[in-house]
């Protein structure tokens, strides 16, 4: 064929559409960008967009359809871990490629997947270290608050082990879970307040995007300020904050590998392109679009894949996998990111940002450079020596 087909597997309806829609758009933008420069191996890229509708079995069905019916060379997609788990067997069976752009809990390494989001050591651990530091407020007690699903559960398991290794007692850790879509945080905020009476406390939030607004609103109304009890979130980025009145949130934190507010020419260019694209394609609310970490991860992922195809001179899965190892790309986060030669994860810098009144983040801490991913967290027993495929 004279085009190379690329599958885009993000929910455009259902509960996850809130987060995933913009990933679809940024993927299309990136594909346009590559095509404008002549495509890959002289062929144009052609996006095949499907809507798995936030339904996990439908993810598997759609993945199979993309690979087997549409014959795509690669799929960019998924957000939740469960959707990824649901499509994995399909990618393995049909030996195809998935690029997964979201931070996740680790404990996984698949030949057919490239993980361009953060593993726990590229996000969660540094964030907690920061909270314990003098600049971060010197927290002694921790509330691990999350939505009840695997990503928060796993992350918290790792964090608990990590905190223990730092000498934090179990009685100084409170682990709380809420159901998906939970919207009444009165009791939980009251409990946090109670817990915080026992010493300098920080909240580590793995609350799923949807529940964050009610949580932060409650926090603000209960008079818990960032200076009293800082909250660091792993699933709240610029996109989520678009829907929030951020004034009461100022000072709360998020840890990511990218923020829109990072200043460097690559990022400026990225943001400019995205805004122009949003206006050109008449995306809803085009005037206020923002970029965020998973969007950057998608963008980087597609470019790296394109480079790998050029290098392999083929879209054949195994050849591309081989060519991916060690690929580098000058990313909007200001660093040249490298695809690890062995573990299919990107080396990524870590940033901690405080929420600003305008819904952007003010970077208050960052790693000196990209960090290699530890998908198998050393804080989980039995993971020693499991870093390679």
């Amino acid at each position: 064929a004279d085009t190379i087909k690329i599958g885009i597997l993000h929910s455009l309806s259902g509960t996850m559409a809130i987060s995933e829609t913009s990933l679809k758009d940024v993927a299309l933008m990136t594909i346009d960008e590559i095509n404008a420069k002549g495509g890959v191996m002289g062929k144009k890229l052609e996006a095949v967009v499907v809507d798995p509708a936030s339904n996990w079995p439908l993810f598997a069905e759609k993945a199979r359809g993309l690979i087997a019916q549409d014959k795509v060379s690669v799929v960019f997609g998924c957000w939740t871990s469960v959707s990824r788990k649901s499509v994995l067997p399909v990618f393995k069976e049909l030996n195809s490629l998935l690029f997964y752009p979201v931070q996740y809990e680790g404990e996984e390494l698949e030949k057919n997947v490239f993980y361009t989001g953060a593993a726990p050591n590229q996000q969660a651990i540094p964030a907690v270290e920061y909270l314990m530091s003098k600049d971060g407020g010197g927290a002694k007690r921790f509330v691990l608050l999350g939505t009840d699903y695997v990503y928060p559960r796993t992350t918290n398991k790792i964090l608990r082990a990590f905190l223990k290794s730092k000498g934090v007692k179990d009685s100084d850790i409170d682990e709380v879970y809420t159901p998906f879509g939970h919207s009444d945080y009165q009791t939980i905020v009251a409990n946090i307040k109670k817990f915080a009476a026992g010493g300098k406390t920080a909240v580590i939030s793995t609350i799923n995007g949807d529940s964050n607004v009610p949580f932060y609103k409650e926090l603000g109304n209960a008079g818990l300020k960032a200076t009293d009890v800082p909250v660091v979130a792993f699933s709240v980025g610029e996109e989520e904050l678009r829907g929030v009145d951020t004034k009461p949130l100022v000072g709360h934190l998020a840890a990511w590998n990218y923020f829109e507010s990072i200043k460097n020419p690559v990022n400026a260019e990225f943001i400019k392109k995205w805004k122009a694209y949003a206006v050109a394609k008449k995306l809803p609310n085009a005037a206020t679009v923002v970029t965020n970490d998973p969007m950057e991860a998608t963008y980087v992922g597609i470019h790296m894949w394109a480079q790998a195809v050029e290098k392999a001179k083929s879209t054949d899965t195994d050849k591309v996998i081989a060519a991916m190892a060690g690929q580098t790309y000058k990313a909007p986060d200001g660093f040249t990111l490298t695809m690890d030669a062995t573990n299919h994860h990107l080396h990524k810098p870590v940033f901690i940002g405080e929420i600003r009144p305008d819904g952007q983040f003010n970077v208050v801490w960052k790693t000196p450079g990209p960090v290699r991913a530890n998908p198998w967290s050393p804080y989980i027993p039995g993971n020693e020596g499991k870093q390679k495929l």
Binding site: T21, D135, G136, S183, P214, K217, A222, P230, R242, D245
Partner: protein
């Protein structure tokens, strides 16, 4: 720290006239050494001049800018004020805002609250003292006692007394400690527990230990009471949210028998209307922004009522007498409405801010914060229920509505235009859902999926109360709210929710027609 505070104390009384802030104090603020910045803030605070207050406040608000060569300006309304010189100029080129982080913010607050303890403004003093309650240390004791000596206001005095006692807990003199501990028997400040607990086990003095035990007991019982009242309030609050979410459904489903799966989307439309009203106010009446809800309420009612009327005229009206089919049709409507909103406004949430008067809360019983937005919603729910009750039971329209819903054909035969009543009833139910949407927009997300989060709960509330029973809906909503809030601290949010569902299942066994079951022949 200690020295710093003494400095503040002394300088508070020796208030100098105008003198610029020395540039060497300002310089570190523009730098990036966190320790130096914290020290600079303390030093500026210690100046205790109006300029210092102004600078710190500006820093807190993000109004302080720096030029590339390190000069600081307070920039407001396109005017730049130089705190070193007092000069006012136009903002210089190339200035950049000074970022502060939590640590600095904390330092600023601390400095400001010490300054504000002597402010002539009662509210500022009260805020400062409340703030100090959290952090009072022995070092601050002399300062606090001075403030206590000067304070005239009874409420603030009382607070200050507790703050002073808190500070004195660490006093080296046993007698002072004991006095402090005893004084704190009236406090409801949970933050004192660790200190008291520590004294209980390890204070050198027997008397202090006894006093600590006594105070701790008093404190704990007061905290338990506060917690109980808190849960009660949270329950009413959750109940009123459920009620507002369900009330429209109590009409469209309870009264009209339409299994209205699009009810959630009507809530959502109400919330989006609120968003649009807010946008309109931002654009055209920014000064009145705080009152955008006053416009949003009627707007949301009208918009959703109109949507409801259109749905009724085009789809629902074909389905009277086929209640089960309404499930299918309204499910379709719900899909369409959600996708329409997604197409117009995007899949992401949109921002709806609480008006200033609904932000924050009032503190009662010492430590319980009742959020204004929650209180407002409770009051609002009560008003809407009262309104609906009046319409249904005290007006001719209400009589016709009930008659049509019970026997459509006969209502026609006595001269009621059933089509009109159907339309108005569905419109009313939808409009009330819209009002519910306004309320929900003040608490959580406003996004295309907003309604999906409430639809199941709404049906549970209406059914549990007894279909067609307004009073039942109210009691069911409040009951579920309370049950949830008293279970949650014990069982956690997930198990509490499961327990509530199991409770509903068991409850219906006992009352198979809901809480307010219709009895007798008329029920058949």
């Amino acid at each position: 720290m200690l020295r710093k505070l003494f400095l503040i104390a002394c300088l508070c009384f020796a208030r100098a006239g105008y003198a610029g802030i020395p540039p060497d104090m300002l310089a570190p603020l523009a730098g990036d050494d966190p320790d130096a910045r914290v020290a600079a803030i303390a030093a500026i605070g210690a100046l205790a001049t109006d300029d210092a207050t102004r600078l710190l406040t500006a820093l807190q608000n993000g109004d302080v800018y720096t030029t590339p060569d390190g000069k600081l300006y307070i920039v407001t309304d396109d005017k730049a004020y130089n705190p070193a010189t007092g000069a006012i100029t136009a903002p210089p080129d190339g200035i950049d805002g000074i970022m502060i982080n939590n640590r600095l913010r904390g330092a600023i607050e601390e400095a400001l609250s010490a300054l504000k303890m002597f402010s002539p403004d009662r509210a500022q003093r009260l805020a400062a003292v409340t703030e100090l309650q959290k952090t009072a240390t022995l070092a601050q004791a002399p300062l606090i006692e001075k403030a206590l000596a000067r304070e005239q206001d009874a409420e603030i005095r009382e607070l200050l007394r507790l703050v002073a006692a808190t500070a004195n807990l660490q006093s080296p003199q046993a007698a002072k400690r004991k006095a402090a501990v005893e004084a704190l028997a009236d406090s409801s400040n949970a933050n004192l527990r660790p200190a008291l607990q520590a004294m209980l086990t390890s204070d050198a003095d027997q008397n202090v230990r006894v006093a600590a035990a006594h105070t701790l007991q008093a404190l704990d019982s007061r905290l338990a009471r506060t917690e109980f009242v808190g849960n009660l309030f949270y329950g009413v609050s959750l109940g009123s949210v459920l009620l507002l979410a369900a009330l429209g459904l109590a009409i469209t489903f309870g009264l009209m028998g339409i299994i209205n799966m699009a009810h959630g989307e009507l809530l959502m439309i109400g919330a989006y209307t609120t968003y649009l009203c807010q946008l309109a106010f931002r654009r055209w009446a920014p000064d009145a922004l705080d009152w955008y809800l006053a416009a949003a309420l009627p707007a949301a009612f009208i918009v959703t009522a109109l949507v409801g009327i259109v749905l009724e005229r085009t789809v629902i009206r074909w389905l009277y007498g086929r209640p089960l089919e309404t499930l299918l049709a309204t499910w379709g409507i719900s899909l369409i409405l959600m996708q329409a909103v997604r197409t117009i406004f995007g899949a992401q949430n949109v921002e709806v801010a609480n008006p200033a008067w609904m932000s924050g809360g009032v503190t009662v019983l010492g430590s319980l914060v009742l959020a204004y937005n929650r209180i407002a919603i409770i009051v609002f729910a009560a008003l809407v229920v009262a309104g609906v009750w009046l319409i249904l039971n005290k007006t001719r329209l209400g009589l016709f509505v009930r008659a049509v819903m019970q026997n459509r054909r006969m209502a026609g035969c006595v001269g009621v235009s059933t089509a009109k009543i159907d339309m108005m009833t569905f419109g009313l139910g939808s409009g009330i859902a819209g009002l519910g949407g306004v309320a929900l927009s003040q608490l959580g997300n406003v996004g295309p999926d907003l309604g999906q989060g409430y639809i199941v709960d709404s049906f549970m509330v209406v059914v549990l109360g007894g279909v067609g029973q307004l009073a039942g809906t109210v009691i069911a909503a409040l009951g579920l709210g309370e049950a949830n809030k008293f279970l949650e601290p014990v069982a956690g949010a997930v198990l509490a929710k499961i327990a509530i569902l199991v409770f509903i299942i068991i409850f219906i066994q006992k009352r198979p027609q809901g809480l307010f079951a219709m009895k007798g022949r008329s029920a058949e």
